[in-house]
């Protein structure tokens, strides 16, 4: 959908198309467009196929959300149960809690995790020593490539009673070192801050790329006008980054609720379900008692709907107040 509109806006002015013809003119326009851009259409076949096969066809599986899904019978033979799976999720005693935790972690992650790579990229951009810059950049990527299991192991070790972080926290709060992961109140912070640490270097790559495309002449002109470093950042660098930031923000909003279960599963324990239990982990545990695909499909669908709403709203806001938006 998005692709077509963009393509349309670029080529609509050319002759041969029926402009303002509405839906009736669509077949004609498409045919014309196809004739003109055969090679381009040909080139995009693989990617279109990829989307159809891996993204659109599996959507048929959403039927599972309304079924008592039975693997042996498949989606055509399983018993239809209407909204049972959804009702079970919404009326469960822990629904409120997992929603709160998911929202809180998602938001905290957005507030702290989203600006971190931008700030890092800006700071790095100011560094003039090339080799220093390279070293910092490379080291900051590293955590991203460490397996989540290892990261979780590190976090566990550091936050245990006697662990490095645990001791630091103890000396700041002037108390004895406890197992931070055993205390419900610390979980959000441990989760989000470790995520920021792991992802900010890698996340900054795209901003670094955007920064390098800003015209040097702008800076030279600004210097002539007497702008200092701070003013240059404010009036040249940030506006230059704005489109990238907007697009990434919109995409991020879509996955706000999709707080992944793997890292939490590795870190949490029954004692801190109060703050650590999110939608995905809750569903995971429900599935351990009885592998219920219908139930997880229902929750997955709920997650996707929320994600889509967030994405559309953010996109709408961005389109209204800035020049950049996804579609």
């Amino acid at each position: 959908m998005a692709k077509k509109e963009i393509k349309g806006s670029v080529t609509a002015r050319k002759a041969g198309y029926i402009e303002k013809g509405g839906i009736k003119a669509l077949p004609h326009n498409i045919a014309t467009d196809f004739k003109r851009n055969k090679t381009i259409y040909f080139l995009c076949i693989p990617i279109v196929l990829w989307y159809v096969i891996f993204c659109y066809l599996p959507m048929g599986g959403l039927v599972m959300a309304f079924q008592r899904y039975n693997v042996a019978k498949g989606i055509t033979g399983s018993q239809f149960v209407g909204f049972d799976n959804f009702i079970r999720f919404f009326t469960g005693p822990y629904f409120g809690r997992v929603m709160r935790n998911t929202t809180a972690i998602g938001l905290l992650d957005l507030v702290l995790g989203f600006p971190a790579p931008i700030i890092f990229a800006l700071l790095l951009n100011e560094v003039r020593n090339k080799s220093f810059k390279k070293v910092v950049q490379t080291t900051s990527y590293m955590p991203y490539f460490i397996s989540m299991v290892v990261i979780a192991g590190l976090i566990k070790d550091f936050t245990q009673s006697g662990g490095v972080i645990s001791n630091i926290v103890a000396s700041i709060t002037n108390s004895s070192a406890v197992n931070l992961l055993g205390e419900a109140k610390y979980f959000w912070w441990i989760y989000v801050l470790s995520g920021v640490w792991q992802g900010f270097g890698y996340g900054s790559i795209i901003y670094m790329a955007a920064l390098s495309s800003i015209d040097e002449q702008l800076y030279e002109a600004a210097v002539m006008d007497g702008a200092n470093r701070w003013k240059q950042t404010l009036h040249i660098t940030l506006p230059g980054l704005a489109p990238t930031i907007t697009i990434l923000l919109i995409m991020r909003m879509g996955s706000l609720f999709a707080v992944g279960s793997d890292k939490i599963l590795l870190l949490y324990s029954p004692g801190i379900y109060g703050t650590a239990d999110v939608i995905n982990t809750y569903v995971y545990r429900a599935g351990l008692v009885d592998m219920d695909y219908g139930f997880s499909a229902a929750v997955g669908l709920f997650n996707s709907v929320i994600g889509t709403v967030f994405l559309l709203v953010t996109n709408g806001i961005c389109r209204k107040y800035s020049d950049t938006s996804l579609f």
Partner: protein, 550 residues
């Protein structure tokens, strides 16, 4: 990390139990299957005379969860090769690793492309094996067993408990079970897991191996006083209990469902559980329990990094994990270091120790034959062969003369040649050396748990058996009780929330985060979350199990 992996592998190898062949009596000439089914099988001409090996090679496909770091395929095991030679049936193994087993299983079922035989389907087909037959995945074996499986059916018929365990509530036979035996004699395994404690430290305090809860308190405080560096005197699972229900059972309850003379009860809703929570709350407050138990999670066995390296004094363990093993793994090189099994704790001296896990069950993993199997007779006859003594030995200790020798008095020993390979470092442990010859822990048919006596001959490992010897299983629910599909669905939707409630609260009561005054409201919530209905469902399943008969 590597040590840890070795430890885990070893543990899996030890515990996930092995099965094999058939009773000594019926095994005189087991290669011909001692065809007592001939009489029963009247109508079928081919079944009257069945003799191994087949004249013409036939093939079967077999889905199995199997891992072996030395070999890629069970067909490379000499024990399996010998079985192929004896039967002339070639098996095409469909191997999956345990980490991806559930996913691969679902894919296989969804694809509709089944192998002939599936091992362990009960674990993954959650709506139950009866439903699996109804869904058209596996076949009802009721009418075939007597006809094609003389060894299996004679084992069943000679043991009433086995008879019950191997049938469904409505009297059908929907799967075959591995049967536990002591070298052929049908018998539940000895208690293979339970509490362990640092004996050398205990000796320093002058105390005996603890028996009662009070003894444990004394022992842990004593050790903590002598060894302040021991940061986690008692290790626990992340839900504060352990797999064996060792400490809760002293208070007459188990951490989850259990039976009290045929009446199903739920531990956390009972008074005994509250007493246990209070005891552990006090212990935790005094630093006797691992401050990081929620993340260390020693539910099944205590990690060598703790119990082996002097960071812990006691914790759950399996019998094979002795002081020698921890030394071998390099956690400890102190000569005095000694780990001993402790009996399951009791409240008062003289009480019967109770285990909370069904370790001594007669039946183990299941085998189902799928609807895709074209030659059901061949599949069942082949599987029946695994209930002979001959095959039992091939799948447990391997090849006579090559991996083990028969001492003539009913005991077996590992050959010197194989022991040398362990000594020169080809294999890190004897059990791993044996598992390069026999299918061992992933086997099926008649399981011979006594194989470990040969593997650990001369080792202190089997001492633990004697310590845990008197443990009873009065509280444990039979693992083969089943619910119907509808019941299972209702149970699952209620129980997943209850489990969350129980684990979270238990941990917080013990760690002191929640006041004990809240306990009554916690129990009340259990009732509002539907524990009574769950108990009802379990009770119905148990009643049906008890009423099973031919």
């Amino acid at each position: 990390m590597k040590k840890r992996i070795v430890a885990i592998l070893l543990c899996i190898a030890l515990v996930s139990s092995v099965f094999i062949g058939c009773s000594k009596q019926s095994g005189k000439d087991s290669s011909t299957g001692k065809d007592n089914a001939g009489e029963v099988a009247g109508g079928n001409t081919t079944s009257e005379e069945w003799s191994w090996p087949l004249e013409e090679k036939k093939e079967l496909s077999f889905w199995i969860v199997w891992e072996n770091q030395y070999l890629d395929n069970p067909n490379e095991l000499k024990g399996v090769q010998q079985i192929e030679e004896n039967t002339n049936v070639h098996i095409n193994w469909n191997i999956v690793s345990s980490s991806e087993a559930a996913e691969k299983f679902s894919l296989m079922i969804a694809s509709g492309d089944y192998p002939d035989i599936i091992r362990g389907a009960d674990e993954f087909y959650t709506s139950g094996l009866t439903k699996m037959v109804d869904d058209g995945v596996s076949i009802d074996l009721t009418d075939y067993i007597d006809k094609y499986m003389p060894n299996y059916s004679s084992l069943r018929k000679n043991n009433e408990k086995l008879m019950k365990d191997t049938m469904s509530d409505d009297g059908k036979i929907v799967s075959l079970y591995s049967i536990a035996s002591k070298t052929g004699e049908v018998k539940g395994e000895r208690v293979w897991g339970g509490p362990s404690i640092r004996k050398d430290w205990l000796d320093e305090t002058g105390l005996d191996i603890p028996v009662t809860i009070d003894d444990w308190y004394e022992a842990l405080t004593g050790i903590k006083a002598k060894h302040p560096e021991c940061e986690a005197p008692l290790m626990l699972g992340s839900a504060a209990t352990n797999y064996y229900g060792a400490f809760t059972s002293a208070f007459g309850v188990l951490p989850e469902f259990y039976q009290d003379n045929g009446v199903v009860k739920y531990g956390p809703a009972e008074e005994g559980y509250k007493q246990w929570v209070e005891t552990f709350r006090q212990w935790y407050g005094e630093g006797l329990i691992d401050p990081n138990f929620v993340s260390n999670d020693a539910s099944f066995m205590t990690s060598g990094e703790f119990i082996g390296a002097g960071k812990a004094a006691a914790g759950p363990n399996v019998w094979g994990m002795t002081a020698d093993v921890y030394r071998q793994m390099g956690y400890n090189n102190d000569e005095n270091y000694w780990l001993s099994a402790a009996p399951y704790p009791v409240l008062n001296e003289g009480d019967d120790p109770q285990a909370g896990a069904p370790m001594s069950e007669l039946v183990k993993e299941t085998l189902v034959v799928t609807t895709a199997c074209e030659d059901v007779e061949l599949a069942l006859r082949y599987l029946d062969y695994y209930y002979t003594t001959e095959s039992m030995m091939l799948s447990s200790l391997g090849i006579e003369g090559e991996t083990y020798v028969d001492n003539g008095d009913g005991t077996y020993s590992i050959t010197d040649a194989l022991l040398e390979k362990v000594a020169d470092g080809t294999y890190p442990t004897v059990s791993e050396a044996v598992y390069t010859h026999s299918i061992g822990a992933a086997s099926f048919g008649l399981y011979n748990w006594e194989m470990y006596d040969a593997i650990y001959e001369g080792d202190k490992a089997t001492d633990a058996y004697d310590v845990w010897e008197n443990t009873k299983y009065d509280l444990v629910l039979p693992p083969t009780i089943t619910m119907t599909d509808e019941e299972a669905r209702e149970y699952a939707s209620l129980y997943s929330n209850i489990l969350t409630l129980v684990q979270e609260n238990t941990v917080n009561f013990i760690m002191g985060g929640t006041s004990m005054d809240e306990y009554d409201s916690f129990v009340e919530r259990l009732h509002t979350y539907g524990i009574d209905r769950c108990i009802e469902l379990k009770q119905a399943a148990l009643d049906r199990y008890n009423a099973r008969s031919n």
